[in-house]
């Protein structure tokens, strides 16, 4: 590496004595205002006070930042954060005939994004999977393992393109906006997590209230999950213990009037297309329709119940009520202490009264709201029960 090599020092050499030497005076030049080196030089002189150590430290920091940036964006290629997911054996063994039951996001390797995946990401993910699983590739990559000369050249694994079919199906569904909406409505992961949702009985059984932390830990993810169905975006979130009164009220207001796009066509029974019987078809169609409506109703009721439960357990509601009460008492105390009231004229009194009236009205309204909501929820539940019964009977009758 070192290209220069010096000769051996003569033995007779003695160090010369140096008498206070220094380099010749500098000359002034004007640099051309170009180049990365100039920026470095200016940083060195302006930011780092001519100190090479400080500059080196800065450069090192910059380099690390750059490295992090490169690492975060994957291996150079910009795949919009699709990444590579390991494919389990079950996933690869999926039966394309059972396509309705597949987890399409897992098939495309997007389980970490799910409903958040953008069209662009789906496209990239699909391309990646196709490159890996295309039947054309399989034939060459899996050489015949059979030692029998009779079977050589014959592709033994006839099920080779099964997973490719699954990929195609997943791509077809996820790139079609309507189909994707239907699929997202009944996403496996979502259904699973909904089963674990707390019901009023969960907490009444234990007979002890949740701590504040537990409350937020339980309900925050639930509302985050449900927010995807809102037609209105962005959706107000639960917030935290210190959220303002306006935020809390806004939150409940939004969720009691939740406008959901969720629908249940995906769970429809197959219409037997081959059948010539028109009546048969119509019957199934009708049943599917009622089933969809029932499910939708159930879903609304479920959400309503969830919000009710949250409201009843929300520690902030208690706090807000407490604060209001305190404010009222403070006012009362102020009224009953006329000594201090001498300075504050009647105007403030009138104000207080107005405020009080307003608050009372608000509370009344809130109470009425809650009552109405409960009634509605009960109603919905009743109806749902009735519908279920009817459906059962219908099923039995047919």
């Amino acid at each position: 590496m070192a290209t220069i090599q010096t000769n051996v020092l003569p033995k007779s050499y003695t160090l010369p004595s140096i008498s206070n030497a220094s380099i010749a005076g500098p000359s002034t030049r004007r640099l051309l205002p170009v180049g990365r080196a100039l920026v470095s030089h200016l940083r060195l002189t302006i930011h780092h006070g001519h100190s090479f150590e400080a500059h080196d430290a800065h450069l090192e920091k910059e380099r690390q930042k750059l490295e992090e940036l490169q690492n975060s964006s994957g291996n150079g290629d910009d795949d919009l954060g699709v990444g590579d997911e390991p494919e389990s054996a079950e996933l690869l063994a999926l039966d394309p005939k059972e396509w309705k039951k597949h987890d399409y996001y897992a098939v495309l390797g997007l389980s970490h994004l799910r409903y958040k995946a953008t069209a662009e990401q789906i496209k990239i993910a699909h391309r990646k999977k196709v490159l890996k699983h295309h039947p054309d590739k399989k034939v060459t990559s899996t050489a015949p393992q059979s030692t029998s000369s009779l079977l050589s050249g014959v592709n033994l694994n006839t099920n080779d393109d099964a997973f490719f079919k699954c990929i195609s199906k997943a791509h077809e569904v996820l790139t079609h906006p309507e189909k994707r909406r239907q699929y997202d409505s009944v996403d496996h992961e979502l259904m699973d997590s909904q089963e674990d949702d707390p019901t009023p009985t969960t907490f009444s059984k234990s007979k002890k209230g949740l701590t504040d932390q537990e409350f937020f830990k339980t309900f925050n993810p639930i509302f985050e999950r449900e927010s995807r169905f809102s037609r209105k975006q962005p959706v107000p979130m639960l917030g935290d213990i210190d959220s303002s009164k306006e935020h809390v009220e806004g939150f409940y207001d939004f969720w009691y009037n939740f406008d959901s796009w969720r629908s249940f066509e995906w769970l429809d029974k197959e219409i037997n297309e081959g059948s010539d019987n028109r009546d048969d078809k119509r019957y199934t169609e009708k049943k599917n329709k009622t089933e969809r409506a029932r499910r939708k109703k159930e879903d609304i009721a479920r959400l309503r119940q969830l919000v009710d439960l949250t409201l009843s357990l929300d520690p902030r509601i208690k706090r807000i009520k407490q604060q209001e009460k305190e404010a009222r008492e403070a006012k009362k105390a102020a009224k009953s202490a006329p000594a201090s009231g001498a300075v504050t004229p009647q105007k403030s009194k009138a104000q207080e009264e107005a405020e009080k009236a307003k608050k009372e009205e608000e509370e009344k309204a809130a109470k009425a709201d809650a009552k109405k909501a409960k009634a509605a929820a009960a109603n919905a539940a009743k109806k749902a029960r009735r519908a279920a019964r009817a459906a059962e009977e219908g099923g039995a009758a047919s």
Partner: protein, 636 residues
């Protein structure tokens, strides 16, 4: 049916494209070029809609149409009075400052009718016909007392100031760049010639702003070249510290700059510009050549490039001028015959002529000579010997001619191993050293650099403003280095290891790695820190007899001695010295001729602080290596 928001709207995790959306514009008097960043992260000169990388700075009006670029230049033949060329150099000048002497075939510059002392161009145009009457809704024509509007365009004239012409032209360049990138351009760096005054620069900046370009910086042409040559892509083999000569041959001017590059920092040692030499002179020679050929072949008299414009065949000359453009490019590209064909050159007679590279070089020798002479004069004025120049960089289409490169290298007296884009092989095929695109690419690089500055570097942006004081720096005036004494008895008494070359901006830090020879019995080594000056020693040798001159007859003086130049070093002052025992000496093993020698590898780092104090450390590479430091105080 479902809207796109229904499935959530996750933001993409990263930007879709991270190409810097900046453009570099080389705005010359005759040609312009634009460069942007392409997908592979390189600055590339791009073609406009006409497929031209060299976009002619011309604007032509014909009827209702406006032509920009090469189509406009072609109008010089038939529609020369409505064609505007060469407007860049008039930018920011007053009418009284523009010399009216040169006769042009293009639209003449006139006094603006309304604004005092403002140069302008007058062109004849057709205003578009007014729109026909609006159709009545009932279907039957409404009775109207108004006269029927004219359905033909109305002839008129348009007065354009130089600034307006520039704005129109720059807008078309910007449009081409945006079409290529597919997004809005955030900012641009534009070249200016070094002789532009501040008023002219202001005028250019204003014209660019009017065209919708955010100008990051107006970059002088040598600086734009330095932006490319200091970039890593330029060359991996050239030393970081070098003296560079920039030869910029425009169509009407020649500008030469001698730069000192010191690890990416560049400053001008000397520069000069001439308005007499350039590509136009070569055109004139070629046109005259082909005109004579035409007369010889067809017996049709043809006068071109004459002093008296009334006798010249202006149209034939314009046609030839367009045609030789192509001839020149062919000569640059291949040594074979280059054709020049013009249909109906004069009197309905077509012309096809050829010229090969040798003939071409002979023809334009006077221009080559004048360029080479200017180079020699510049070097003499800067007190730099031709052998001290490490690299020549060419700018402009004319410098694509290999004959010019050969002539400059030979006549300028440069050393044989000088680096030029031709010797490095970077001219052909749009390489990095392509003289026609280097300016635009430099601007694009610079624009990307300025765009990448973050908010914390706000102060640094000031350096890119005009006349910034941040660029005034102190440089060391003499080269510093180490001498490792030995018995070799050469002029400096040892091995010379240069560390900081003269002209390096302070503060500076340089590192060198090398092997030190040790003797077997004692591992002692010593070194001295010297300040030196480099010079060129000329030795005269009488050439061998058989080397008769195969130079051209035109060269009058026959040199009897061949001058051989050596680089020499003169010690100026001793700054420090130290000695130590090496701890990590190793013996070279194996069959090589160095076997049995003892060596150790050291790294020498010399820091010159802003005040001029020196901090030298020589350290053995490896664990537990010996470290020697020498400090020299700054001048009192």
């Amino acid at each position: 049916m479902a809207s796109s928001t229904q499935n959530g709207s996750a933001d993409p995790s990263t930007e879709v494209s991270n190409l810097p959306d900046v453009v570099g514009i080389n705005f010359g008097n005759s040609f312009a070029s634009i460069a942007v960043f392409t997908k592979d992260g390189q600055a590339e000169c791009i073609a406009n809609e006409d497929g031209e990388r060299q976009i002619a700075c011309a604007l032509s009006f014909f009827g209702e149409e406006m032509y920009i670029g090469s189509p406009a230049k072609a109008q010089l033949v038939k529609n020369s009075k409505n064609t505007i060329v060469g407007f860049r150099n008039h930018l920011g000048l007053k009418f009284s400052e523009i010399s009216q002497s040169q006769s042009t075939t293009s639209a003449p510059i006139i006094q603006h009718p309304d604004i005092p002392d403002e140069p302008a161009y007058k062109v004849a145009i057709l205003h578009p016909a007014p729109a026909p009457l609006p159709k009545s809704t009932t279907g039957t024509p409404a009775a109207s007392s108004a006269p029927t509007p004219r359905s033909e365009p109305i002839p008129g004239e348009r007065i354009l100031t130089v600034s307006e012409v520039t704005t129109i032209f720059l807008k078309s360049l910007l449009q081409s760049a945006e079409d290529f990138l597919g997004k809005r351009v955030q900012g641009a760096v534009i070249t200016v010639p070094p002789n532009f005054t501040d008023t002219q620069k202001d005028a250019l900046e204003k014209a660019a702003t009017d065209a919708g370009i955010k100008v990051y910086q107006l970059l002088e042409e040598p600086a734009a070249v330095a932006a490319v040559t200091t970039a890593e892509v330029w060359s991996s083999t050239l030393p970081a510290d070098r003296t560079q000569l920039i030869v910029d041959v425009g169509s009407s001017s020649l500008s030469l700059s001698l730069l000192a590059l010191r690890e990416g920092l560049a400053h001008v040692l000397a520069s000069t510009s001439l308005n007499s030499t350039g590509g136009d002179a070569i055109d004139a020679k070629l046109i005259t050549f082909f005109a004579t050929e035409f007369t010889k072949k067809t017996k049709t008299p043809l006068t071109v490039c004459s002093e008296n414009p009334s006798t010249a065949d202006a149209r034939a000359e314009a046609k030839l001028r367009l045609a030789v453009e192509h001839t020149k490019r062919t000569v640059s590209a291949s040594p074979g015959a280059a054709t020049c064909s013009v249909e109906s050159l004069k009197g309905g007679v077509d012309f096809t002529g050829t010229i090969n590279r040798l003939r071409f070089d002979m023809l334009v020798r006077p221009i080559y000579d004048s360029i080479a002479r200017s180079v020699s004069e510049l070097l003499a004025s800067a007190n730099v010997d031709a052998h001290q120049v490490d690299e020549i960089v060419y700018v402009g289409g004319t410098t694509c001619l290999p004959g010019l490169d050969e002539h400059i290298c030979l006549a300028g007296g440069f050393s044989d191993d000088i680096n030029t884009p031709f010797s490095m092989g970077t001219v052909i095929g749009g390489g990095i050293g392509d003289p026609t695109t280097v300016l635009a690419r430099g601007c694009a690089l610079q624009a990307a650099l300025i765009a990448s500055l973050t908010d914390e570097d706000e102060e640094l942006r000031k350096a890119f403003e005009r006349g910034s004081e941040l660029l005034e720096v102190n440089t060391i005036s003499k080269t510093l280095g180490l001498v490792f004494p030995d018995d070799s008895g050469n002029e400096i008494g040892g091995t010379w290891i240069p560390l900081v070359p003269f002209g390096t901006t302070l503060p500076a830090r340089r590192t060198a790695t090398f092997d030190i020879g040790l003797s077997e019995e004692s591992k002692r080594f010593a070194f001295e820190l010297w300040e030196i000056t480099e010079s060129i020693q000329v030795e005269k040798i009488i050439p061998p007899k058989e080397e008769t001159s195969d130079a051209d007859d035109e060269e009058d003086e026959e040199e009897e001695d061949v001058e051989v130049k050596h680089k020499t070093i003169t010690k100026e002052s001793l700054l420090g010295a130290a000695e130590a025992e090496a701890a990590l000496g190793i013996q070279v093993k194996g069959p090589s001729k160095d076997a049995g020698k003892w060596t150790t590898t050291v790294q020498a780092t010399l820091v010159v602080t802003a005040s001029g104090a020196l901090e030298l450390s020589v350290a053995e590479i490896g664990k537990d290596g010996v470290v020697v430091t020498v400090n020299v105080a700054a001048q009192q």
